[in-house]
């Protein structure tokens, strides 16, 4: 019985266990890995993906998923940059870009709950449509040279710390607390665990699902702001393919595709693990093409762990 509890704790935190082993191993065997500069690099690389993963995780926890995150990121980057380049104030531009993300989320939520499409179809539509809109607005061109204050969140530092890293930590903290200490957060989990039971118990499923997608849209847009700042530019092709990375990170972190199970800190662990692996492969000058293969193996591994975990807690007749 005690061994079982222990095993369950290990499995529940498997991503941190694996990440620690990976970090320690590479501290010895990968030159230039365990330096402050490199670890800082890993964190910086994690920040944009990490912010997108928060939104994706909210959707996954509620039993849905959001393919449109990467397109929303690009749209927001383009919208904000265009406005700021055309003389709009920094603050209003940022507000407008966040709103554009929220709008995409609202459309997703409405397509799912009011029109009755499933999450795959609904967000596939916005995934394609929003990317098209982003490309259309700037006719496929990249916008260069943004004002420094607009780039602060993506490229600035506060004392010694890059703002992106602080944002990453802050957002994970806030959203984790939202999920585990508030009624709304509890409802997100319950809707993901059993949507029918949640509805029959009187939870407003429409409101929960729409809110989750709107939050996902806001977060993707915010990631777009950070990315534009980091690269001092905005391209309608920003984040291409990122949705698969985001889903991988969340799943590797132990967030169940079936909804209702997992947590944000674990998803962050997934993000850090993926970034560390890319980083190590880089340091060893392995061709980046292999990263995909390794990621596939990790997802397989994560899914096997998940079913093992489920078997451990189930009642035995």
């Amino acid at each position: 019985m005690k061994r079982r509890e222990f095993l369950k704790t290990v499995l529940d935190n498997s991503v941190w266990v694996i990440l620690s082993i990976f970090l320690i191993f590479n501290a010895f065997y990968t030159p230039r890995f365990f330096t402050v500069l490199n670890l800082r690099n890993i964190l910086i690389h994690s920040s944009i993906l990490g912010i997108v993963v928060i939104g994706e995780s909210l959707c996954l926890l509620s039993g849905h998923f959001d393919l449109s995150v990467e397109s929303t990121l690009a749209l927001a980057a383009v919208v904000g940059s265009l406005l700021v380049k055309n003389g709009m104030g920094i603050f209003t531009s940022i507000l407008a870009m966040l709103l554009s993300g929220g709008m995409v989320g609202l459309v997703n939520g409405m397509l799912i709950r009011k029109v009755g499409l499933n999450a795959f179809v609904a967000t596939l539509i916005t995934y394609i449509g929003v990317r098209g809109t982003a490309l259309g607005i700037v006719e496929g061109k990249t916008i260069w040279n943004l004002p420094p204050s607009f780039c602060f969140l993506g490229a600035g530092t506060i004392w010694l710390f890059p703002v992106q890293i602080l944002l990453l930590i802050g957002l994970y903290g806030v959203f984790h607390l939202l999920l585990i200490t508030t009624r709304f957060g509890r409802h997100v989990y319950l809707v993901g665990d059993n949507q029918l039971a949640a509805r029959i118990s009187g939870i407003n499923v429409d409101r929960v699902v729409v809110s989750v997608f709107v939050l996902s849209g806001f977060l993707s847009a915010f990631a777009g702001l950070v990315m534009a700042g980091r690269l001092n530019s905005a391209s309608p092709l920003f984040g291409t393919g990122m949705v698969f990375e985001a889903m991988s990170a969340a799943i590797i972190g132990g967030i169940s595709l079936r909804g209702g199970v997992g947590s944000l800190p674990m998803a962050l662990g997934g993000v850090l693990l993926l970034s560390s692996i890319s980083n190590v492969l880089n340091l060893h000058a392995v061709s980046p093409y292999w990263i995909q293969t390794i990621r596939a193996i990790m997802i397989l591994f994560a899914v096997v762990l998940d079913s093992l975990k489920r078997r451990l807690v189930r009642y035995e007749e």
Binding site: R183, N194, A197, S201, G202, I203
Partner: protein
């Protein structure tokens, strides 16, 4: 009359689940709803619980017409339900407390003094209350922090029952509440139902296949067949054979 259904019909596509059903529940009354599989018992319960609206017909509560657009509105009128199927009741990967409080979580202000509108879940209070209610139901659950998947069918049903009686309902609807229970648990739950009905004055509709237990706890039996009410009797005046005959039909 506490609750009255008037000419209620409900179809699912081609299937006519209920046809012109009229039904009455009096104050302090326990009614047994019996009938074969697919007779429409669960459909009747779900209409009363606000899970879906009837196609036709009216519902009156204490003489006033009511329309339940969702389960929450039924809750607000004091109607609580234990549905038949586990997948309609419980969130399997959540702990017992989370399930008992599902949709009605208790919150407290995070900073009582300066920003009272930020509310967080009152986990400690909910756990304490969950333990109290479960001890009232009388089925052993070793920890309210373990997920539902780790408990047996009977224990799951106890959790569902605990949720339904937590707020002291005016009307309690129980759809086959003893189906998954062992002999001892069944006895305990029946005793609880009788106590809720007789001592606490809660009006109860109980669906059951087990005529033995129906005769033991109810004041009145209503028989459904093919979506219609085909008979009604009191257990003190009718025999089980007579009720069985009404359930299966024919002479």
């Amino acid at each position: 009359m506490l609750l009255q259904l008037e000419n209620v019909s409900k179809s699912f596509g081609e299937v006519r689940a209920l046809e012109n059903v009229s039904f009455v529940l009096n104050y302090h009354e326990i009614v047994g709803l019996v009938g074969g599989n697919g007779a429409g018992k669960s459909t009747l319960i779900k209409i009363l619980a606000g899970v879906f609206p009837p196609d036709k017909g009216r519902i009156y509560l204490e003489g006033q017409e009511v329309v339940f657009r969702n389960p929450k509105e039924a809750h607000n009128h004091g109607i609580y339900t234990v549905h038949q199927k586990m997948e309609e009741i419980l969130a399997p990967h959540h702990d017992v407390t989370a399930n008992i409080f599902m949709g009605e979580e208790v919150t407290r202000p995070l900073f009582r003094s300066f920003i009272p509108f930020i509310k967080v879940l009152a986990k400690r209070e909910m756990e304490k209350e969950a333990e109290e209610i479960l001890s009232r139901v009388g089925i052993r659950i070793d920890s309210v922090r373990r997920p539902i998947v780790s408990y047996s069918g009977g224990q799951r049903q106890a959790v569902a029952l605990a949720r339904a009686i937590r707020k002291k309902p005016k009307i309690l609807l129980l759809d086959e509440p003893t189906a998954a229970l062992g002999v001892k648990e069944k006895f305990q739950v029946l005793r609880l139902i009788r106590r809720l009905g007789k001592e606490e004055g809660i009006s109860i509709v109980i669906v059951s296949h087990n005529l033995e237990e129906v005769f033991e706890v109810v004041d009145r039996i209503v028989v459904l067949r093919n979506g219609q009410v085909v008979g009604e009797c009191s257990p003190s005046q009718a025999t089980k054979e007579r009720v069985v005959q009404m359930i299966v039909g024919g002479e």
